[in-house]
């Protein structure tokens, strides 16, 4: 099943990476069992012609076979089926942007699209930004690291995905354009000024590559 696969993959990925200062010992073991969806109603017989549940998703460059319920949103699948918890639920209503992911390079609210709608499309999440071989941070991540971006950082994964989308479309933004490009993400710590500086730096780094 997709779950087991994902856990294995994540662990392998982690072990390869240089670990951060001040590692946290976590009290709970990661598990693939808990997930959010699936009521008696949802598990009933399927109507003829309805979309097949077992689908292939392309996430961070990897094809994954996943059993997805019809009413499952992409953020739910990522967090609760594939255990990719970098994508956050801030509102689950397409209002805050904490769940932002890229679909074919374009930023979308993961909470507000059905997983079945991304079949055959390339999904990129915060977990997929680092170079899979070297563990090197993406340009945006480097810029954020350099500028010391974010405070509580619950919004960070979403903002970073929107910055990734922005530099693809507009690698040479003004501060005002960057603010517009990021206006679909909220930061309640209101670290907007620094986030904007990160975005401008990311664009600058992207141009120099």
């Amino acid at each position: 099943m997709g779950d087991a696969e994902s856990v294995g993959l994540l662990e392998k990925k982690y072990s390869r990476r240089s670990f951060i200062k001040g590692v946290i010992a976590v009290g709970a073991t990661a598990s693939s069992t808990g997930y959010l969806l699936g009521g008696a109603q949802a598990l009933g017989a399927q109507m003829p012609g309805a979309t097949e549940r077992l689908i292939t998703l392309n996430i961070n460059g990897q094809d994954r076979r996943v059993d997805v319920l019809p009413h499952e949103t992409l953020a739910m699948t990522l967090r609760y089926r594939l255990n990719m918890t970098g994508t956050k639920f801030g509102c689950d209503r397409a209002e805050c942007g904490a769940c932002t992911v890229l679909v074919d390079g374009v930023n979308h609210y993961g909470c507000s699209m059905l997983t079945h709608q991304v079949r055959g499309r390339a999904v990129t999440t915060i977990e997929g930004l680092e170079n899979p071989d070297t563990g090197e941070l993406s340009i945006v991540q480097q810029a954020v690291l350099e500028q010391g971006g974010f405070q509580c950082a619950f919004c960070a994964p979403g903002f970073i995905m929107s910055m990734e989308a922005m530099i693809r479309v507009n690698p040479n933004p003004t501060r005002e354009e960057a603010a517009h490009a990021l206006s679909g993400n909220l930061c309640r710590c209101a670290d907007y000024d620094k986030i904007l500086t990160c975005a401008m730096r990311a664009a600058e780094l992207a141009r120099s590559v």
Binding site: G39, Q41, A42, A50, H71, A94, S112, Q117, S183, G184
Partner: protein, 332 residues
């Protein structure tokens, strides 16, 4: 039955590839099917567990509903074309910048990337009494809670209301009315084109729908005629926040100007009525003039004649008046 929110009730998903298949599905599951475009309105309903369709028909896979084509000198925009595509389309930008500007004022980049033009104009109202699942007229009940003496109706209608005082939330709708767009609706019979201003219906006609699209029908395309290409446009939207906010009042105007004289005009206002309001009397007033301050003032005053305010929305009168005034002033 206790109320719980934020968990989509189970449904069966269909992802047809053609409009015919979609229509057949809607027919087959009449009464229990829901049409999903970008979904940004739909998911709210689902997550609130107020609308609970057994079947959802996702139009995302229907190629013929996507894209912008040139037709009869104008543009035909597939209903499932994303707002971002509309904003970025070269011809829309060059000839119909009014629409590009309006579409750019919708919510946020992520929503514009996913939300569709068809979905934007066909979306349901944001009256919070209605969206909270109250049994109001629009929900099939007997009451407009928003029109009650002390109700919270700052966002509600000052004209065109009939029992229900909710407003049309669409940002692109006023622009499309100003551009004299035609909406193509397909249902059981042959496709039918509706003028934009007739496409949106008020509660006097049908209190449960905001457009002529009936259950089982599909809005398939929006055609923008050549006649208003490269007209002089004015768009402005006043909202509380710079992003993710609906209009308090917006104005979309198109003027044909020849030698400084307005030869034709179409002006539409959003956020003041259950539908985008076309200001035909104002259009007649300004046509033949050169615009300017005094005509603009007259136009503004004329536009709000007959407005009826609720407890908390009196400000919409000066706001609408001033926006119309500005639109006319912009010609000079």
């Amino acid at each position: 039955m206790a109320i719980i929110r934020d968990m989509i009730p189970a449904f069966e998903l269909f992802q047809p590839n053609t409009v015919d298949d979609a229509l057949a599905l809607l027919d087959e599951h009449r009464g229990e099917a829901w049409v999903l475009a970008g979904g940004l309105d739909s998911y709210d309903w689902f997550k609130d567990r107020i609308k609970r369709p057994a079947v959802v028909v996702d139009l995302g896979g229907i190629e013929e509903l996507h894209g912008i084509t040139e037709e009869q000198g104008g543009l035909t925009i597939g209903a499932m074309t994303s707002l971002t595509e509309v904003v970025n389309h070269a011809r829309v930008q060059s000839d119909y910048s009014l629409l590009a500007t309006a579409a750019e004022h919708v919510a946020t980049p992520q929503i514009r990337n996913q939300g569709t033009l068809g979905g934007n104009i066909a979306q349901d109202t944001r009256c919070w009494y209605y969206r909270s699942g109250w049994p109001c007229y629009r929900a099939g009940g007997n009451t407009c809670y928003a029109a009650a003496p002390k109700a919270m109706n700052r966002e509600h209608a000052i004209m065109g209301a009939s029992r229900c005082v909710a407003v049309s939330p669409s940002d692109t709708a006023p622009a499309l009315v100003a551009l004299d767009a035609k909406m193509t609706v397909r249902g059981g019979g042959s496709p039918k084109d509706h003028d934009a201003e007739d496409f949106f219906i008020g509660p006097a006609i049908d209190i449960t729908r905001m457009t002529v699209v009936k259950p089982g029908d599909l809005l398939t395309a929006i055609h923008i005629p050549a006649v208003w290409a490269n007209a002089q446009f004015y768009y402005e939207k006043v909202r509380d926040r710079g992003s993710w906010d609906f209009q308090l009042v917006s104005v979309a105007a198109a003027f044909q100007v020849s030698g400084g004289t307005i030869t034709d005009a179409r002006i539409s206002v959003g956020g003041v009525a259950p539908y985008p309001v076309r200001l035909e009397r104002v259009e007649r007033l300004v046509t033949g003039t050169t615009g300017g301050e005094s005509v603009a003032n007259e136009a503004g005053e004329l536009s709000v004649q007959g407005a009826r305010v609720l407890r908390h929305n009196d400000y919409k009168i000066p706001m609408m008046r001033n926006l119309v005034r500005r639109a006319v002033r912009s010609v000079a």
